[in-house]
Structure formats: structure tokens, C-alpha cells
């Protein structure tokens, strides 16, 4: 299925979970990472069960040096 993943149209396997998407991006799922779908933050406790579907806009941010 196609998603917009951090601004890039990306083909991912159907049924991918949020942790799967983090793996595709090369993010570790630890502290300091947050995920939003279609502009809404998805709490970490809901990552496993969240239904990722075709066309969703997924944003993944992590804490980095800066500011």
C-alpha cells in the first residue's frame, strides 16, 4: 500500500504496523520518537494496534541536537 511517510510517497507492505514503519525509516522505537497520522499524534501505547491504511499521511519525529 502507498503511504506518505515523512513527506515521501512510499510503498509499504499491506498490514504494516507503526513499529514496522519505524523500521522502514530506520528509527529505533525508543524514547524520543513520536508518530502522527494525518496530523494527529498517536500515543505510543496505541502503536501496535493502530490500523495503518492506504494513503495515510504518517509523520515520525525524533529528538535531535538543535535549538
Amino acid at each position: 500500500m502507498m503511504l506518505n511517510l515523512n513527506g515521501e510517497d512510499t510503498e509499504v507492505p499491506a498490514g504494516s504496523s507503526i513499529p514496522d514503519l519505524l523500521g522502514i525509516l530506520g528509527f529505533e522505537a525508543g524514547r524520543g520518537v513520536a508518530v502522527a497520522v494525518n496530523g494527529e499524534v498517536v500515543p505510543r501505547s496505541e502503536w501496535e494496534g493502530f490500523g495503518v491504511t492506504e494513503g495515510m499521511n504518517v509523520e515520525v519525529l525524533r529528538a535531535v541536537q538543535g535549538g
Binding site: N6, G7, G30, R31, G32, V33, A34, V35, A36, G39, V41, P43, R44, E59, V60, L61, R62, A63, V64, Q65, G66, G67
Partner: protein, 256 residues
């Protein structure tokens, strides 16, 4: 008993807040951080980490510091609010250093967007520390919407130009009912001292340390500078005079 810095009910021993941008490695950043004695460290939120591998959070944890996420790089209130929400989820803190800038060349805050974002985030329960212009009216408005501190700039981010308008800063300090933290523009130790002598409650130090030839040594200089400036502020400086005022007795001189 000396008065401690207090923001939103939290007491700090150090009056130096540490910015993490611009360090060439996490090792140097961690060494510099320990030298400053800072207890709060600000981090940005990005899609990728373009600078360094490893975990910045581990370095901050190892130094025993709290993390203060920021919204650096945001140009609109909407982007800043979104970034703050992401930071809260990522880092488990309500604290946010709010930055909403107007353009890439000056990196100066966009006042209307900043105020809009501040109001929204306060409503959502964030402890908001806004990076703002050295504008006494904007600082007052930010305080009125519930910000826990105000963070006026001395001069543009990374410019190292020091405090360009100490008179505006003095007006902000005289009127503020929340801590005033000088953010941006500090180039070297004396700039930090001046900020503290003027009465700032704290300073945020970033580029002046991270881009110094020897960041760890500059970090120590900044710690001493902030402590010196604060002590001088508490001690109370003598007034400036146009003419001399003798410090020796004027009575009992030879030949009188």
C-alpha cells in the same frame, strides 16, 4: 540564602540553560554540558538526525539533566503546536521552548504566530517558554496568555552580537512577573555576564559554546560568567558617574 531560579514551580540550582545545536559530536556536547552545570537541556524535533549518531537523550540523561524540547525551525503557529505535541509524546514532558520564526535570514521570532501558538499550547496544558523579540509589549502579551517565562533575544540566533538593546531588555525585566531568560545572541562570556548583571533570571547558551574553538573550555567560561553576573546583580553595582569620586580619605593630606 540566595534566591534560586524558579520556573513554573520548579527550582533550579543553575541559571544556565544549555542549547545542543552545532556541536560536532555528542562526546564534545556531553563534556561541555557537564562543564556548564546546566540542569535543563533543549533539543529539537526532526524527521532525521542530520548531525550525529547515537542517542542525544542518553547523553543528557547521563549528565543528570532534564530535557526541554523546542520547536526550532517552525514558521507557523500550526507547525509549532504540532511539533510541541509530538515532543510531549516523544519525551514525556509538558515543557516546551516555543520558537516560531519569521524567516531564514534573521531567524527572528514572528510575533503574531508566536502569540497564537503560545495561547494554544497553554490551553493544552503545556509549560510554555517562548523565544521572543526584545519587545516589552510582546513579552507582556506572552505572559498574559500564561507563559511560564519569556525568552527575549539579545540579538539574532548564532550572531554572537551580544545584547543589542539593553534598554528594551531593562523594560522587559522591570515589568515581567515571570522569569526572563535571555535567549540568542550571546557570543562570549562577557555577554552572558552583562545579561545577568542586567537582571535576567537565566540565559540560554548554545552557539557560543558549540562553535567555540574549544567548546568545553568555553562551557566553563560561561558557567563562571553566569555566576559572576548574577552575584554582581545581587551585590548591586555602583552608579556610573561623569567625574571621579575619591576612594581615599580627603582629610589629613600632607601639606594641608
Amino acid at each position: 540564602m540566595r534566591e534560586k531560579l524558579q520556573i513554573a514551580g520548579r527550582v533550579f540550582q543553575s541559571r544556565l540553560i544549555f542549547g545542543t545545536g552545532g556541536f560536532t559530536s555528542l562526546q564534545v556536547m556531553g563534556d561541555a554540558l557537564r562543564e556548564t552545570g546546566a540542569e535543563m537541556v533543549t533539543v529539537a524535533m526532526r524527521r532525521v538526525d542530520p548531525v550525529a549518531g547515537g542517542s542525544i537523550l542518553e547523553v543528557i540523561d547521563a549528565a543528570g539533566c532534564d530535557v526541554l524540547p523546542n520547536t526550532a525551525g517552525c514558521f507557523t503557529a500550526a507547525d509549532a503546536v504540532f511539533t510541541a505535541r509530538m515532543a510531549r509524546e516523544a519525551l514525556g514532558t509538558e515543557w516546551i521552548k516555543l520558537e516560531v520564526i519569521g524567516d531564514d535570514k534573521t531567524l527572528l521570532p514572528d510575533g503574531p504566530e508566536l502569540l497564537t501558538a503560545a495561547e494554544q499550547l497553554v490551553d493544552e496544558g503545556f509549560i510554555v517558554l517562548p523565544y521572543c523579540n526584545d519587545d516589552p509589549i510582546l513579552a507582556r502579551r506572552l505572559e498574559q496568555v500564561g507563559c511560564a517565562a519569556v525568552m527575549p533575544l539579545g540579538s539574532p540566533i548564532g550572531s554572537g552580537a551580544g545584547i543589542r538593546n539593553p534598554y528594551n531588555l531593562a523594560i522587559i525585566l522591570e515589568n515581567a512577573g515571570v522569569p526572563v531568560i535571555l535567549d540568542a545572541g550571546i557570543g562570549t562570556a562577557s555577554d552572558a555576564t552583562v545579561a545577568m548583571e542586567l537582571g535576567c533570571d537565566a540565559v540560554l547558551i548554545a552557539s557560543s559554546v558549540s562553535r567555540a574553538k574549544d567548546p568545553v573550555r568555553m562551557a566553563r567560561a560561561m558557567r563562571l560568567a553566569v555566576e559572576s553576573g548574577r552575584l554582581a546583580h545581587e551585590a548591586g553595582r555602583i552608579p556610573r558617574r561623569l567625574y571621579a569620586e575619591a576612594s581615599s580619605p580627603t582629610e589629613g593630606l600632607a601639606g594641608t
